[in-house]
């Protein structure tokens, strides 16, 4: 078993199925050793972990959990793309968009739910640059949307992408 998947297992985490795009695009594209991942959200068991604006309909703690679930879904995309999460050389950049109620300004604490999972799973290779912003609307009223750029070690990419 790969080192990273062993760590996931120790943490009691199992990767979900990779999310399916909800439009005319795909979940990842490789360009050289960079992998660009599409924005995704807190899908869980065929539904969403939470829905609505953070700071009113969704609490800060629920939003952090939603960001963590979103990060799990991004890991599922990476495993689908790479075959093995040990091929992640570095999490380069994370962009987090928080569906924010008027006056909610704690977006970084929300996105920490994702960032902390990447750190726990990848260690030093999980340390990333990041931007967190608050937006007024997200597709299907999801509370959070996260995209990322990852640098990968050489090897054959898998499907479907």
């Amino acid at each position: 078993m790969s080192v990273v998947e062993a760590r996931l297992s120790e943490m009691g985490l199992t990767l979900p199925d990779a999310p399916v795009p909800v439009g005319a695009y795909t979940t990842w594209v490789a360009a050289g050793d960079l992998l660009f991942l599409s924005g995704t959200t807190c899908y869980v068991d065929g539904g969403l972990m939470s829905v609505g604006k953070v700071g009113s309909e969704v609490s800060l703690d629920e939003a952090r959990q939603a960001a963590r679930q979103t990060a799990l879904n991004l890991l599922a995309v990476l495993r689908q793309a790479l075959g093995d999460l040990d091929r992640v050389a570095r999490v380069v950049k994370v962009n987090g968009y928080v569906n924010s109620a008027a006056g909610f300004d704690r977006q970084p604490e929300v996105i920490n739910g994702a960032s902390e999972l990447f750190l726990a799973v990848f260690g030093d290779r999980g340390v990333h640059a990041r931007t967190s912003i608050g937006v007024s609307e997200l597709p299907g009223r999801i509370p959070v949307e996260i995209e990322m750029v990852v640098q990968v070690r050489p090897g054959p990419n898998a499907g479907p992408g």
Copy 2:
């Protein structure tokens, strides 16, 4: 004639003039084989195809058309940058920002107007990763703003950039 421009022609499309930056920046920059394109919008014939918030002032269908026109303007930037659209190796990443009325949550359907054009024009090379979000304000009240990253085949880049 290049394969991609022949396809555009079959689709009855002609590329507009490339948009002019509205600030202290340029429309594209190359770094290695990646081309980073500035965010642009639905310019047409010296004006805008539509103006205002999607979901109130601009209908979903109008917004889809605006996204498609924005994609045409991005293609015009690519032709200006590359000389020949056949040098596009892959549309890597598309980010779409929709000027959203309160409660409008169908951003992916809007941005599909751009994504579907890239698929039609480039085929498999047009399949991209994507993020669509809703924002509260865009420059000059444009309904949609789209930026992209493209991987290109070697060759001399043209101007103006």
Copy 3:
């Protein structure tokens, strides 16, 4: 003294200390010759140059100044990362997020405060692709958040990142 730092000096500018991340991430990550910088804002002397929504609480001119200060903070990150600003080969991409009051649509004029500084400091190497959007909320009610991608010349990267 490096050429770029001499120019800063001529302009009467001194670089501030590099900003400290306010979450589980770092201020920059290198991938090949690209440097991805985290979103940052108008920190000055341990505080913020301005706070609140542009177009109501913060004027256009104050916001431009805030964007310029944000650009200075990004330069401080670059010096921390690279040791010497002359190693900047090209400012590739700038993304500017403006905390916008309802109806404020002059985001490009705000972000010009940053873009014009990059042009003044780096000359042709400072010409970049750019996207400016308006958002409804930003962390800690900052008026502007800016992130960037920079291409660098070979050389050892420094810390802390």
